[in-house]
């Protein structure tokens, strides 16, 4: 039986999270530029998240969480996940303290990067998720849905790797390894149902 792995930012969410957090906190320019370069793969993910966390340290965790919880989600995709919840997993490089609340509403199994926090204050990073390592913990055939350069490790081992272009162009490294590319939410859900 196949397990479905989803990236969070730009796949389940209809907007990239960090630029939205940046926008709400008056730090949009810095964060958006970093996010763009990260998706394209011109900055390694671990370096990018370090820099982003440094910028966003000044913002209370509860504020970020509130912004995250208000981001619009891909409703047709959520419907599929609801119907196959026990076979769906979210794999995100984002910080547990920011996105845990949102993710655990959607699925039961999530992999995150881990933050070091002191109450409502973000201090730094405890661990950065390596998606290629995380995916090894999933048994059996997998279907991956993602678009960013840090998803490549998952695409390399997936039976079916779907580059999702509904929010923005998937990274070229993802396109080189994907078995499929889909730009339309309804088409994506129809195909996922066929695979389920």
């Amino acid at each position: 039986m196949r397990t479905f792995l989803f990236d969070l930012d730009g796949t389940i969410t209809k907007k990239e999270l960090l630029p939205e957090i940046g926008r709400a906190c008056g730090l949009y320019k810095e964060i958006a530029a970093l996010t763009r370069e990260t998706i394209a793969g011109s900055i390694p993910f671990h370096e990018s998240i370090r820099r982003r966390v440094d910028i966003l340290k000044q913002v209370p965790i509860s504020t970020v969480r509130k912004i995250v919880n208000s981001i619009p989600l891909n409703e047709p995709l959520l419907q599929f996940i609801r119907e196959h919840r026990n076979r769906c997993v979210i794999i995100t490089g984002n910080l547990d303290v920011w996105v845990k609340e949102l993710c655990s509403r959607i699925v039961d199994r999530v992999f995150y990067s881990e933050a070091e926090a002191d109450g409502d204050r973000l201090i730094g990073l405890r661990s950065i998720l390596n998606k290629a390592d995380a995916v090894k913990k999933i048994k059996g055939p997998i279907v991956v849905v993602g678009e960013g350069n840090n998803d490549v490790g998952m695409f390399e081992v997936a039976e079916v790797g779907i580059a999702c272009g509904s929010l923005h162009e998937p990274a070229s490294s993802v396109m080189e390894r994907a078995t499929h590319v889909i730009y339309n939410d309804a088409t994506l859900c129809t195909f996922l149902k066929q695979l389920s």
Binding site: M175, A178, H180, V181, Y183, N184, Q194, L195
Partner: protein, 225 residues
Amino acid sequence: MHFSKTVIINCAGTGSRLGLGVTKALVKIKGRTLIDWQLDLLEDVPDVRIVVGFNADQLIVHVRKRRPDVLFIFNHRYMDTGTGYSLWLAARHCTGGIISLDGDFRLFFALQEPCIGISSASSEEPLYAKMNGDHVTAFSFKEKSNFEWNGIVKTHASSVHEERGFLYPIIEKQLPLRAVNMNTCEIDTPKDFNRAVDWIGEYMDKRAHSRLGAQMKHPSPVNHG
């Protein structure tokens, strides 16, 4: 037997026999690409899947402008595999029936059985279809027949096994198949291409004449302001 309406178009190849340096789907005839001409016929088909390989980026950009709902399948090994492999890549995650176009197939949708498209043998390198009544019983490159296989087939996704080379050996194993005679034009070589330009020109003329005829029969209402 129920057939879902999944249409698969193979556009992964390099079009090497045609020798234009661009995948065949992007070759223009009468100012429009071949994939545009094909998509015209598929406007009512909700599930269109295109296998891409050579020139994938350009083809995806082109198709998305018109049909953002298309599912694209990558054949990353387009250089050392053929149309059979492309169809297998597309079919292995389909359920039910599929129609494969290597290129008016409404009858294909209507028929509730596997079937195969044939056309008058006219291409430069035809794969002849040996007929018995309304069924194709065998393929041959050598043994001539009045008909050739036009690359269109309706079959079960589960009947498509892994095949690195051409598509016809996969289909050959399923013969005999009910034949549907179609007016199509195969393009593999430069000579085929020139023939296709004339063929589409004739089609456009006929369409223009029939529109004119319809307008004369049913004139448009005059707006008297």
